[in-house]
Symmetry: C2
Subunit: 245 residues, 2 copies
């Protein structure tokens, strides 16, 4: 444990480099900011590689470095007020896994990717698989939007649709079929495929899906995170529906 | 129509003041940025009170003022790159209205409020009612998150639960009952009540609701926007469910 007062401290400089996706990929690590997220990591059984806390705050774990306020806020990616941050190992599955996988294609907004990781956790999906042109789920904004679910939901890279487990069900605003769960009535293993808000899934991906369905809406559209949340909700409904009293 | 090159132009100064909620409330107006949102206003039949476009861009309407790039980006609340912005009248209902009203209590994040307005539009809700400690639905971030739905979904202020139409159904993570729609099986007129992510609805609001229900999730929680989206989806399901083939 060290006491750090200078923004020029080599450890802090190395931390700041983790704001860049390239450095996160090179190192296989990522930063988490804030007490809530560090606690979420701990609750998920994940130990930090290193940690930093506001000097004298007593936050974080025993080995956390003590950092003066100005130096600490200089490292934050999310603005002032961060009192603790820590570095964790990225964990990727070797391949997307079922039984309920969510595949994202061209979902470029980190807030949406993080929210989808959170929805995957809430509804018990087995994996979030990332295709081309997706935001990094380990970016500060995505981690924050996931509210720590990034520590619980397995993520994987998908090089192509063939990597995806089970039956493929594409969310497609132009589909004739309305999305209907639960998943148990459709397949034992399933991947939900979700595209970008503006363009949806590309034709070659849609063409590789056994089913396409749309969410029944009256007006306009949903963003990728809202669509994924609704689809996961629908897929995880209980098979036998109890009518409302 | 005027040509504006200076950041000190009085019109631009007045525009910048609209970034503050107090000035939006005083004037009863709000700013919208970007081609998509100005187009959404037009599609909803809403005419701007005044408009500004990047000089020479040809964007916006006939009467839009021409503004040089630096002066225009200085007015933007959302960062650089805005090429058109316009001011619109805020429209508020005199009171929340049914048949399907969404009431928010303590939803302080403008992105969540805007996303809920968007969900209300997508699922055909009749009104979004705002209780205490909610973000302003006319703030730049909320307007952007609504993707223009703010021009289509009626909004209202609610001074108390007694203002809300129809049967009151509270989303409550601790409820015994699982949320089940469709609304037609519950009530002819309904208000869904949604609280803050951290604290939920206060006890006095819960106590004034005929029903409480939770969204069936496995892990952790949903944010207010995700919960509202799922609840609106559930409430607008078709009454007679067709099993998946």
């Amino acid at each position: 444990m060290t006491h750090i007062a200078s923004q020029q401290n080599p450890r802090l400089k190395a931390l700041r480099r983790l704001h860049a996706k390239r450095e996160r990929e090179r190192s296989g690590t990522f930063i988490v900011e804030g007490e809530d997220l560090v606690a979420a990591a701990q609750a998920a059984g994940r130990e930090p590689l290193e940690g930093y806390r506001l000097a004298g705050s007593g936050l974080g774990g025993a080995g956390f470095h003590e950092v003066e306020r100005d130096a600490l806020s200089h490292v934050s990616a999310l603005g002032s007020g961060t009192r603790v941050l820590a570095v964790y190992e990225q964990r990727w599955l070797a391949a997307p896994q079922g039984p309920l996988c969510v595949y994202l294609h061209g979902v470029g907004d980190p807030g949406n990717v993080g929210t989808i990781v959170r929805a995957a956790h809430a509804f018990g999906a087995s994996c979030v698989a990332l295709g081309p042109h997706c935001a990094d789920p380990h970016s500060p904004k995505a981690v924050r939007a996931s509210m720590g679910a990034i520590f619980s939901v397995p993520v994987a890279r998908a090089r192509g649709v063939a990597d995806l487990p089970g039956e493929r069900l594409a969310l497609d605003a132009h589909a004739a079929e309305v999305l209907r769960g639960p998943m148990a009535e459709i397949a034992h293993e399933l991947t939900l495929l979700i595209g970008s808000e503006r363009e949806g899934l590309p034709a070659e991906v849609l063409g590789a899906c056994a089913r396409r369905a749309r969410i029944a809406i009256e007006g306009d559209s949903l963003n990728a995170a809202m669509a994924a949340t609704v689809a996961l909700y629908e897929m995880t409904r209980r098979p036998s529906r109890v009518p409302a009293s």
